[in-house]
Symmetry: C2
Subunit: 315 residues, 2 copies
């Protein structure tokens, strides 16, 4: 009873400044969880979905998963140089992102195939965990999984404390995110939806395993996000958080809920503590969402103004 | 406290006879939920997966979803005869299953496309619910969703009461099963994995919807079942229930769990109360599973011997 009382009075979002953003979130959650309110939403319908890159953790200067792919490719090439058998892979192994990106999606797909496929899901996640333990971000020198947003961790907990189920719905790799999502965000594997490569059930020396195969079987980005939600969850979310135009359809999908819904866009405005980018960014481009947020009733979170803290371990 | 005490002493499986099957299930559940046992399994790993057709409800004389497809096709053809534009669809609309089946998968796919696609998921599920409300089974004259197995309902509840999360992993259509799974089995949409058609996010008159498109995007059968589990749940189950060789890989996958696991096969042995079939059946063929159950340690449930009752509303 004592801890219940504490929970009810303590500030659930201590790393959020006392600005409109925090008020809007708290008022929304209070109204949908109040059984006497017309806005009340039953627990089974309290589905909250969040993008990952740029919404729950940083994504600059390049998606962290791409850094993992390049690091892994370099390691593999050391042991077997014959792997580097195309211009795209050569550029990737040399860290020449400009040439790699100029090759478009097909070059990127080659890198993903070479670094992410033809291994078991378990071996892949082990490799991601090892990488996270040793790799450091070029700007902050922090572990990549330490570059998660403290205010968003608090928001996730706050929603769960109010009987929301919190999902990740990411354009990033589903099995990649699962390697750290439970520890980093408290989000278990079954609540992670993401882009997936083909997978195959195989017996290796009589032991069954799921093997990741080349090529994307499901692209969880843009209009793919509502499709992923409909496929895996089968319910329309009432709370949607994103940061780029790749989340536009997911935000729109949530807003079409007959129940009271909430849309949230993390706007990267803090060059000092994190990064500042939106319309012209090659990663996490936010243009349409920024233009339409107001007319659609979505909250734009200004990182610089609304967040008292960015990462858990920085002031 | 009173209800807890009741729960602990009341028979959790009253529709199971006092045979080996019931004892084996109860002993397994008791051991994995006993914190002092070496067999103890933490709550987060208590994942139970069940096939649907022939495991949770009947499947003879043909899969109920096929009956839905044929009934729907006939209704649609009444309004628009031009829909029936191929030999397979002609056979289907005439109820000529023999000719339809002789055409193999491609004919069946035509029927599925014509009856299941080019509509919103919501409209589709509404159609399934309407069909369930009016259609009757040719042998029992019961509603199709009344032909669910009372002993399996008790098993699902028993597992959930012991903090298992219960999933359906079916070769049948995911959105088809979701139309009734919560009401029939207490299994919510996010715990239903099944075969899926392509889906697309669309704006219709400015309103977003998920539209079912032709052709299968994921076949959740045989080796597809462990793949579906790995994709959606991301954890290996400890309890697997099935009834046919389409569940073999899922059973094998569960048995490869390092944690204590349980495999269960429903064997249709009761021609009087339900149906009797296995090795030679065109539906729910069970041959490999029956041969290997003993060596693999899977429990074969003999419906006639082990079940005191079949359907909830029959003696
Ligand atoms: Ca993003
Ligand atoms: Ca079956």
């Amino acid at each position: 009873a004592c801890s219940m009382a504490l929970q009810a009075t303590a500030d659930p979002l201590p790393s959020w400044n006392d600005t409109h953003a925090k008020t809007a979130i708290v008022e929304y959650v209070a109204s949908v969880t109040d059984p006497t309110s017309e806005q009340f939403v039953p627990v089974a319908a309290r589905i909250a979905v969040f993008d990952n890159d740029g919404t729950l953790w940083s994504e600059q200067p390049v998606y962290f998963q791409l850094t993992y792919a390049l690091d892994t490719l370099k390691e593999k090439a050391k042991k077997d140089p014959s792997l580097i058998n195309s211009p795209a892979l050569k550029a990737a192994a040399a860290g020449d992102l400009k040439t790699l990106m100029a090759g478009g999606m097909s070059g990127l797909q080659e890198v993903i195939n070479a670094s992410h496929s033809d291994m078991s899901v378990m071996a892949f996640q082990q490799s991601v965990k090892q990488w996270l333990a040793t790799a450091r971000h070029p700007k902050t020198n922090m572990r990549y999984d330490a570059m998660i947003y403290q205010p968003m961790l608090e928001l996730l907990s706050y929603l769960r404390d109010n009987s929301f189920t919190t999902y990740i719905v990411s354009g990033g790799g589903q099995q990649f995110i699962r390697a750290f999502s439970e520890k980093a965000y408290g989000i278990p594997p079954q609540q992670v939806i993401g882009t997936a490569l083909h997978a195959q059930y195989e017996l290796i020396d009589g032991k069954p395993q799921i093997t990741k195969k080349p090529d994307v079987s499901f692209l969880d980005d843009g209009p793919g996000k509502p499709v992923g939600i409909a496929t895996v969850i089968g319910k329309k979310p009432i709370f949607v958080g994103g940061n780029s135009d790749g989340d536009f359809e997911m935000l729109e999908w949530g807003s079409s809920n007959e129940l009271p819904s909430f849309g949230l866009i993390v706007h990267h405005t803090d060059a000092k503590r994190e990064f500042a980018y939106d319309r012209d960014s090659h990663i996490g481009k936010l243009d349409k969402g920024l233009k339409q947020a107001s007319s659609r009733g979505w909250l734009v979170v200004d990182m610089k103004e609304d967040w008292a803290k960015v990462y858990p371990k920085t002031p």
